[in-house]
């Protein structure tokens, strides 16, 4: 009789459910995974090295490209690190805007995760629904920053500009007739805040739709319940953060435990899982979308009533307004110096972290007093999560590997940096 042995199998790096460029070398016993060795770095762009060669502000755009489905949260950590070293106070209105966009980003990220995770394990429809809602949120990004994804909207000292009072509208074309355009523009007549508010009105209903499709779905439960179980103790030892940690039943959320910006003034709940399997992490993330929606609504209410500056009034760090710059010599000099040389950051080192949708995203910044960072280390939540892939998938079937990759919410931009 032929001898039965383990064999090695290669997965990726260009597999549709590898979420980018993950290459796995798996040791299999039949269809059961014995050992997994993830090979990463295929998307390594040297962000940290690039940041060392540029003035502080020039690297904000790189942060968007790290975790490219939760763009503004990455900027937030980096900008917060610079602000801490500089000692710049951010105006309260800018803090609310940041919190609002952090939560919009959280919804964006979780929609992408839900769609992709569903697609990976056989639920195609959810993907289409999720992308419908993502489109509206991308429009919010576009309205404030001019780009749909890589916003570069947060700046040290605040946000680049105040919320626009009008939304861009669709126009009739040979693809869209007047009736259709009227429907598309229905919520775009007012300001950005009106548009977001209309979104938050209908979004809980959309989440109900996704839940109808998945939560009690027999196939969905068969693919996720009891898969990739992590105990709370192991989750802590494996460096899990965010929904991965909460899914295992540890109540830990930086927004609550170490509040930054105005999170301590907002009312929201932190969902926590029980069993630490893929299904619980799904429930946690779905509930997080609802909570994020509630936070956005609170921010809208506050922002409507409280106009004010959105950028600190310290022109060594923040640019003067265009108007000022055009007729004040000193403002012109500030503008010129800021956009060429940048600003020098006092010597020191700082670690700033935010609760990004995937977990704790942190920036460790060392400055030696120059206009460029001396060292910037980005702490990506996905890096620690992927490191645990081996442990989470041992003893599971090959097809469960896809569910585990999905539940980890892997994005290679941040892991490879």
């Amino acid at each position: 009789m032929a001898e039965i042995r383990n064999y090695t199998m290669n997965f990726g790096p260009q597999h549709p459910s590898a979420h980018g460029v993950l290459r796995l070398v798996m040791e299999m016993d039949g269809e059961v995974i014995q050992r997994v060795d993830p090979h990463i770095g295929l998307l390594h762009r040297g962000t940290e090295k690039l940041a060392e060669s540029k003035p502080f502000n020039h690297s904000i755009g790189y942060m968007d490209r790290l975790d490219y489905v939760s763009m503004m949260c990455n900027e937030h950590a980096y900008v917060m690190a610079i602000e801490k070293l500089l000692g710049v106070e951010v105006p309260i209105r800018a803090q609310y805007i940041r919190v609002m966009f952090d939560e919009i980003t959280r919804i964006l990220n979780h929609l992408m995760w839900l769609g992709a995770h569903g697609l990976d394990i056989g639920a195609m429809t959810v993907f289409l629904y999720c992308f419908r809602e993502r489109e509206d949120l991308m429009d919010c990004y576009e309205a404030v920053s001019g780009t749909r994804m890589h916003a570069t909207y947060y700046r040290p000292g605040g946000v680049y500009r105040d919320l626009p009072t009008a939304m861009p509208k669709y126009e009739t074309s040979k693809w869209h007739n007047e009736k259709e355009v009227a429907r598309l523009n229905a919520h775009r007549e007012g300001s950005l805040l009106d548009f977001i508010e209309a979104f938050t009105d209908r979004f809980p209903g959309c989440v109900d739709d996704y839940e109808t499709l998945l939560t009690e779905n027999r196939i969905w439960k068969q693919r996720t319940v009891g898969i990739g179980v992590v105990s709370p103790e192991r989750a802590e030892a494996l460096g899990f953060t965010g929904p991965m940690l909460r899914g295992s039943g540890v109540e830990w959320d930086l927004r609550r435990k170490q509040p930054y910006e105005v999170y301590d003034e907002l009312d929201f709940q932190i969902p926590v899982g029980v069993n630490g399997d893929c299904y619980d992490r799904y429930l946690v993330r779905v509930e997080e979308m609802r909570q994020a929606n509630a936070i956005v609504r609170q921010c809208i209410r506050w922002l409507r009533d409280n106009p004010g500056p959105v950028m600190a009034d310290d022109h060594k760090v923040t640019p003067p307004s265009r108007e000022e710059m055009k007729d004040d010599m000193e403002a012109l000099i500030h503008h010129f110096k800021l956009f060429t040389e940048g600003y020098s950051v006092p010597e020191g080192e700082v670690y700033a972290a935010v609760e990004a949708p995937k977990g704790e995203f942190g920036a460790y910044l060392v400055s030696d007093g120059a206009n460029k960072p001396y060292r910037l280390k980005l702490r990506a939540p996905g890096f620690a999560h992927l490191a645990a892939l081996d442990e989470m998938s041992r003893g599971h079937m090959l097809s469960d590997m896809v569910a585990i990759i999905g539940t980890q919410d892997i994005v290679f931009g941040e892991i490879d940096r």
Binding site: I40, G41, H44, E48, K49, L50, S53, K54, P55, H58, L85, L86, G87, V88, E89, E236, A237, L238, G239, T241, V250, K257, Q258, A312, D313, D314, K316, V317, T340, E341, G342, Y343, S344, E347, G348, E349, V350, Y351, A353, E360, G362, Y364, V366, D368, G369, A370, N371, K372, Y374, R375, K377, R379, F383, A384, L386, A387, A388, E391, D416, R417
Partner: protein, 204 residues
Amino acid sequence: MTDPNDSLRALLAEKLRDAATAVTVDRLGQIQVDLARERMIAGFEIIRQDSQLAYGQFIDLSGVDYADYQDGASAHPRFGVVYQLLSLRHNRRLRVRVFATGEELPTVASVAGIWPVANWFEREAFDLFGIIFEGHPDLRRILTDYGFIGHPMRKDFPLNGRVEVLYDEAQQRVRYQPVTIENRVTVPRVVRHDHRYEHAGEED
């Protein structure tokens, strides 16, 4: 009112009196422990196990190359490793720094036995800085290309890299060659010592 950082600093200094060379609180209120290279494992064991410290979560590990720090003015050894730890129980953060010993092969001890997650972070620091982690179970490169030579985050590694990759039409395959582009510095590095920056951020 006593500053909570002072009591934590006193606690750390007492618990780590054998292993730490310094326990400091910086101007931003962040606590940093400098551990001696030889006794770092004992120090980390205490930081992890002691119930009053209980830094159960290993957040980050970062190599730092101090070669150009303030244009080479620093008196440290060249390579340091900075650990960011978090205690979920006490809701506190801690920064620990260890300087690597050895000129040619900078070496520190591996903490992968204490926090399993450190495994990959140490591989990353080895890959990017060439810092050796003694006792690491599987010290391989992680982020750079297969067959990569050098340690890209070192300050003496050029920003452009050393090789470029291209498709060779004649040989019908991908090949490597030395870089043909020149390094361009668009914004020079400056350190301003004038009065403008002394109070940056404190005004307004």
